[in-house]
């Protein structure tokens, strides 16, 4: 059956309507979960608010489990799902840069859009920065073009890399997530005892 659009079950013309609807749902969930506040988000790094970790891990676990059940039931062909290709070293470098950007800026692109929606000036500046960053990247692209395309491992899945089945990885990942939920709950309780001010 699925995915519906690549299989031609839903005509391509609906593509953008669906994109808009999915975006609205995405934005709503992000904002309602508290991702429009940068201090909420960065709380994950200081132990006073683990909302990012909770939302993120729960979402990944649910989607990951769901995808594999759907594939098993024949509802969705996992082979037709876009698997992000892996370029190991550029991706590590990119992730490290994003990590620093995350802690300094306090947003990531998706959350900054929702923060703009509720009137945060810092989010607007952040988005402007994103624009500038991507522009700079494009301008200086020739300097690191070779690096950008290096270490191409293709559309490799986690299971393939680790040499275990993807089902097994899903189980391990879920277990890690649940442990993380418990540990962060303990941490949050302790940190909050010491701090009084969390009005965001």
């Amino acid at each position: 059956m699925g995915p519906l659009i690549p299989q031609g079950i839903i005509p391509m013309g609906w593509d953008f309507v669906i994109a808009l609807l999915i975006g609205i749902a995405f934005g709503f969930i992000l904002e309602a979960s508290g991702f429009s506040s940068s201090r909420n988000i960065t709380g994950v790094f200081y132990g006073y608010n683990f909302v990012v970790l909770r939302v993120f891990f729960t979402a990944v676990v649910v989607a990951m489990i769901g995808l594999q059940y759907f594939d098993y039931f024949g509802w969705l062909d996992l082979n037709q799902i876009y698997v992000l290709p892996t370029f190991l070293s550029p991706m590590i470098v990119g992730a490290v840069i994003m990590g620093v950007g995350f802690i300094i800026g306090g947003f990531c692109p998706g959350t900054s859009y929702t923060a703009i929606a509720i009137g945060k000036i810092d989010a607007m500046v952040f988005t402007g920065g994103l624009f500038l960053g991507i522009f700079l990247f494009s301008e200086f692209f020739p300097f690191f073009e070779q690096f950008y395309y290096s270490d191409n491992m293709g559309n490799i899945t986690i299971g393939e890399f680790l040499g275990i089945s993807n089902l097994m990885f899903t189980m391990i990942f879920t277990a890690i997530a649940v442990i993380a939920f418990y540990v962060t709950w303990l941490i949050e309780k302790r940190v909050r005892k010491n701090h009084e001010e969390y009005k965001f």
Partner: protein, 203 residues
């Protein structure tokens, strides 16, 4: 900690563990035996030597000839542009990758058509839908294309036009043999099927 959270976490764990407990799925990418049987009885899975000759002469970019005979036989003689995938290799994933040209018409051939037919059944089971068998194989190729027999005087006009084509084809294949064998190895370059066409880096 609220009891509901414990239930919540247990549900997630049970769901994930459930994945591991699922009975081994027979590979759904493989065609199920009933469908395979339906396809086996379709005469359209055969192509004639005339069709293939025509495609080769017209340099049909969609044609992909696969020789399923052992490598030594392939070295001795092969149709122009053919690649060699001996039947022995059909158990390996590499062969699978070699056949992964969903847009092409893959034609198996062997001396007769038995090996090609076996290759066809295996490829079809593996989920390749665009495969065909060269009816009569190389024996038929020689009989009809390389050494065509003139039809009797009473034969229909169609048979004569077919004969004329075959005579021409015979000349084409034997006369230009030297030049075609030289290019045999570098068969047609095609782009592999990508997992998806989505834009890279789209976040």
């Amino acid at each position: 900690m609220n009891k509901n959270y414990i239930i919540l976490m247990s549900m997630l764990l049970v769901l994930a563990a459930g994945l591991l407990l699922l009975p081994e799925k027979n590979n759904t990418k493989q065609m199920n035996p009933e469908e395979l049987m339906w396809d086996i009885v379709q005469p359209t899975r055969y192509v004639t030597t005339d069709d293939v000759a025509k495609s080769i002469i017209e340099q049909d970019p969609l044609l992909m000839l696969v020789d399923v005979r052992p490598e030594s036989d392939f070295q001795d003689f092969a149709l122009s542009g053919a690649i060699n995938l001996p039947l022995e290799g059909f158990a390996s994933d590499d062969t699978r990758a070699e056949l992964d040209y969903p847009k092409k018409n893959i034609v198996f051939y062997s001396n007769d058509d038995l090996r090609a037919d076996q290759a066809w059944v295996l490829a079809k089971r593996l989920g390749f839908n665009n495969v065909y068998v060269l009816r009569g194989g190389l024996n038929q190729w020689i009989k009809t294309i390389i050494q065509p027999v003139e039809p009797a005087q009473t034969a229909s006009a169609e048979e004569f036009s077919q004969y004329t084509f075959r005579k021409g084809a015979s000349l084409f294949f034997t006369g230009t043999k030297l030049s075609t064998t030289a290019t045999t190895k570098e068969s047609v370059v095609v782009t592999r099927k990508k997992k998806s066409s989505a834009v890279a880096g789209g976040c």
